[in-house]
Symmetry: C2
Subunit: 319 residues, 2 copies
């Protein structure tokens, strides 16, 4: 009988990434834009990705034994449903059962940041850590917590909503209406909001014309910063400072061996990590600070899909 | 052979509370002021308390099998040392080994809030909860975390420093120099600071003369509030509001079945709990909020000593 393999799919507001993991090796991978025109479209996109990976698995001589899916949103893990998602048109969707019916395999559905945390713990920057906190830094901020080497889900699968740690009461608001939380102060959207405010104040980024539309993306702010733009550098430093306050809180609460980061913003690590570490030194309790290494992903953009495949492997073992 | 019993001692900056626990029942208890004139004095006070409880145990027909001690301070749990304490003259003290030598029994030393959390989980407001967060609200704010029914200590025993969650960057400072953390905004000392500022601004509390010294204790602010003083009520409400922000962060991170509270401030629960719950509703993620009950201690002032005795029982089982 051929080797068992596990498909992991990470569906975000922009891209859907999938891969096949067999014996700890990625034997096939693919990435497509996510069609967010409706819940049906998202589901069809996932299934298409799954079918293609299944075919690729056959060609690679392995047999897919389970499917794991990571979703940017609130997941009721035990029920296998997506309660709500900020960037995907999914609400109260019994995703696990729908996919199981179509795929005819064991399926597990989890929050994308949980999946990323697991991957980082097993294969990436948190390897060997018994306790670890992971943050996904993108348009929004997600979190995953590893305790005793396993994902910690809490009483109702809602643990690790770390983008919603409040670090500045009455501070700016997120898209979902929360005030002063990490996501409102240090996410990609927060960087874009700060940039917009500066543009309105007359800022003209060095070497770019993003001001024309009155908007500038976090990536464009990073590019301007790398060209030496002082305002752009300041925007990233401020985000790093806020992030560091949140990381200090996590260090004080969890006393982990590592705090790790993934997501699009980690591509600008050199622009915000110094300010982040300064804040951690300032706000963390020394005994806990000394125990924690603080590191960006070792898995690039693949962490979420890898973690989803690892979850699938755990699920298959249960069957 | 007589029934095994466990001595628990909770040493704080004001009082030392001790008790003997046998078969889940308290068979003797005592409370004395803590002599904080020096490290030696603190140690002598603990030993005196232990000897008296040992005698009481003999009279009650039980045999003391282990000693547990809860200390308000940073504890290196594995080493059994008190690294530092804000309110006790202890620093880098190998307390466990010193007590073990004197007592001739297994000894365990832990943070007082950890001990209180364990007691609340086994015998109090958190009974039956798999995951629980506990806050001790006194002069300072301490924390204890129960995960999977056991105390969570983190990578180096420094977990659950929940008084140091930052909820207002650049906010007011604690005695130990941390800014904007829960302890700086919602502890007994924070209430006293706010009261002092109001006194300086001309406030004269209803029915009291605490203004004479230019100081007023948190207890006096509570008394004034109960007499209908609007400023005093506002001070407690504000503390409750800040506490609720911190509790929301803990709910979002840990998704516990319960968040529980003990310590002197819980005596004024009716003065701040409404504001606390309002903040939680505002800042917590609904899925996590619904899972968590939020309740004051069911053990009065005895939680710390009870928890220390429960730790002693666990320690004895290991031998």
């Amino acid at each position: 009988m051929s080797e068992a393999a596990f498909v992991g799919i990470d569906t975000g507001g922009n891209n859907t990434r999938g891969l096949v993991l067999a014996k700890g090796r990625v034997v096939a991978a693919r990435e497509t834009p996510t069609d967010t025109s409706g819940g049906e479209a998202v589901l069809r996109g996932m299934l298409r990705c799954f079918r293609e990976l299944e075919d690729a698995a056959v060609r690679a001589g392995v047999r897919v034994a389970a499917l794991g899916v990571g979703i940017a949103g609130y997941i009721d893990f035990d029920a296998g449903t997506v309660t709500e998602s900020p960037n995907l048109p999914l609400r109260d969707l019994p995703l696990r059962d729908l996919l199981r019916e179509e795929a005819g395999l064991p399926v597990v559905v989890d929050n994308d940041a949980n999946a990323a945390a697991l991957a980082e713990n097993r294969l990436g920057a948190g390897r060997g850590c018994r306790h670890q906190v992971h943050l996904t830094l993108g348009t929004g901020i997600g979190g995953g917590i590893i305790i005793d080497g396993r994902l910690y889900r809490g009483a109702s699968g809602a643990a690790a909503e770390l983008g919603h740690l409040v670090i500045l009461e009455e501070g700016p608001q997120t898209a979902c209406g929360h005030r002063g939380c990490l996501e409102a102060l240090a996410s990609g959207l927060a960087i874009e909001r700060e940039a917009r405010l500066r543009l309105e104040g007359g800022w003209r980024p060095v070497g770019g014309t993003p001001g024309a539309s009155g908007r500038v993306s976090a990536r464009e702010v990073a590019e301007a910063a790398r060209r030496g733009d002082r305002t752009a550098r300041e925007i990233w430093r401020e985000a790093g400072h806020h992030l560091g306050v949140g990381v200090a809180c996590l260090v004080n609460a969890f006393n982990p061996q590592a705090v790790t980061f993934s997501g699009g913003m980690t591509g600008a690590w050199e622009l915000f990590s110094e300010a982040l570490l300064e804040s951690v030194e300032c706000y963390a309790v020394p005994l806990a600070r000394r125990a924690a290494r603080i590191e960006p992903t070792a898995l690039g953009g693949r962490g979420g899909a890898l973690g989803a495949a690892l979850l699938a492997e755990e699920e298959a073992r249960r069957h």
